[in-house]
Every structure is written in C-alpha cells, then in structure tokens.
Subunit: 165 residues, 2 copies
DNA sequence: CTAAGTTTATTCACTGGTGAACTATCATTC
DNA sequence: GAATGATAGTTCACCAGTGAATAAACTTAG
C-alpha cells in the first residue's frame, strides 16, 4: 500500500530513485515500529526510550559511571534533555549525581545498586519479543542483514558528516 | 562503541539474545539517523516529517484527495496530530479542507495546484542524497536488503498485532 | 421515529525533545 | 595574574506528538 504510492510518485517525477526511496521509507517505518514496540514495553516500568538507553549505558560501564556530556554523545541527545533525564532517574534513585573533584564543571553520574537491580529485573521479559522479531532469519540472513545495515550506516556517516562551518 | 556496550550487558545477563539485540539497536539508530537527515532537508521548506508524508500521500493519489482518518492510518499518526498538520498545510494553501456531501462527519482534504508545484520543486534536490545512502549496494544487495526488511516487518506485524481486548 | 451506540474530527492538558541564552569553571596568553 | 576564550551544565521558551474528553453526524434496533 506504501509501494503503490511511491511508484505513482515515481511516475510523476521520473528522475526519482524509486528503489532507494522505497528502502528509505521502509527503514523509517521499521525504525518507528520498533521504537513504538520498545516504548510500549518500557511504559510499565515508567521509562521512556532515552531514559532506558541512558540507564543501559551506565549499566554497561564497568565502573557504572559517566558524565552528562558523554551520555549526550552516546545517546545522541541534546544536553538539555540529558538534564531532564538525569533529574528523572535521580528522583527514582536509579542513579546519583555528584560533582567531579578534578574538574568542578563536570557532573559525575553513577548507577546505583538499586539501578542495577532494576535493569536486571526489567530486561529478561523483553527477550522473547526481541527474539521473535528475527524469527525465520537464518544465520546467513543475520550476517547479511548486519553487513547491509552497517554499510548503510557507513554511507550515512559520510554524507551526514558534512558538518564543519 | 555500541557493540561493546551490548556485549558487556550480554555478559552480565547471559540469557540475552545478543545478536538480535544488536540488530534491534542498529535499526533504531539508523531509523533515527535517516529521520534526522530527512528533517534537516525538510527544514528549509518549513515542513516536518509528518507534514511531508501527509502531503506526499495526497500527491500520490490520482484525485489528490483523502480524509483525516485515512491519512492517520497511512502516516500512523494520531487524529489529534492530523488536525494540527492539516491546519498547518491549509494555512500555507498547500491543501484545502472541505466537508463531504455524503457523510457530513467526514472532512475532505485535497492537495491544491500550488501544493503539487511545491512538491515537484521540493523533491528533486533530495534525490542525490537518497542515492548516496545506498552507494556501493549491488543489485543483489538491494534485493537482499528489501527481502530482509520486509521479513522483519512481517514479524513485527505478527507480534505487535496482538491488539484485541 | 427515537434512543442507544458508533464513527469522525476537534479541543485541551500534558509529555518529550530542541535551540538560545545564561552560569560557572577551566585553559590560555599577554 | 587579569583578560579572553573555551567547555559543561542548567534554565527558559517553544515545537511536535499523545490520550482523554467532547461534539457532531451517521447507524441500528426497538
């Protein structure tokens, strides 16, 4: 039903790269679908996607700590939003916020033991669905898919990385 | 840099389907990246993604018309937001809003000649980048990628489609 | 025909995210 | 060692999207 739309636009505007446009649209749709699915799983835990991602990054760190700036970089969030995320997670006692000794501008964010327990409890129920997403994917499919996604990511880095004023 | 994070979480929580989780995260990242890229292209035209999509659907229709409800369905937007989108596009005279004769609850939305011209002018500058996204993709790659994306979409429809109370 | 239920769209209050301005600290240089 | 400039975070005002409540029109059953 989306394909027909793109085809028809391709007829009206013949210079359009139809196949690529279709892929692009597919990626956008799938990204949005997965995001909705994820958020619906997070909602019972009263987390949104960025809060979850932030918490997971901290969880994945051996020392369980980071700074707002670094978290912004890894989550591709603005600093403004990271402030709000940190506020929310601090309020729930999943992380702590303290100031660094060496550089008093920096804020040190650290996951708490309660935060770790929270993650360990929250993750497993999501596994079945993550598995189901890739039902019917052979080992070769997985390899191919990984390769193609990373190739696409590389191309996007190239063309999007033209950011020097 | 993301892979290490997932690997480490996989060590801490051994039941996790690491490969699938990685793909999932990749899809989310790519979806977000493409969306950002698209929106940065749309910004000079003072459109956002949903407004663009709405306009393109109307453009793709032979008669250039639809209703808010139908547009909600195709754009996966809430009715609330569609009202706002229509307001914005009407204000710019890219679409018109009129009420249906047969069913006076329905609102008829129709793209204007100015709207069509606008689309025809706006699209071509985006083509080079859409092409560049898939630079280095062979014909086989494109076929594989399409196949895998649609398989994934099918699986998501299955598990997400459990919506009957 | 009318009462109850359904569908279609809008309004309102709220959440999530962003850019611009601001504050505080650190680094550099004259 | 003050002045200038760069960095890290926060605050504020705004944009985009959502759920719940509402209004208007249609449908159906008695």
């Amino acid at each position: 039903m989306m394909d027909e739309g793109i085809d028809r636009v391709g007829q009206l505007v013949p210079a359009m790269p139809v196949a690529q446009a279709r892929m692009c649209r597919l990626m956008l749709m799938l990204g949005a679908t997965i995001e909705r699915e994820l958020e619906s799983r997070l909602k019972p835990n009263k987390l949104n996607h960025s809060e979850f991602l932030t918490l997971m990054i901290l969880y994945s760190r051996p020392d369980g700590s980071s700074t707002p700036g670094e978290l912004c970089e890894f989550t591709t969030q603005g600093a403004t939003n990271m402030t709000r995320i940190a506020n929310a997670l601090v309020k729930r006692a999943l992380i702590t916020r303290g100031s660094s000794k060496e550089d008093r501008r920096r804020v040190l964010i650290r996951i708490t033991p309660a935060g770790r327990r929270f993650v360990q409890k929250m993750l497993p129920p999501m596994f079945p669905q993550v598995g189901a997403m890739f039902a019917g994917f052979s080992a070769g499919d997985m390899r191919q898919f990984d390769r193609l996604l990373r190739k696409l990511a590389g191309n996007l880095d190239q063309s999007g990385g033209q950011r020097l004023p």
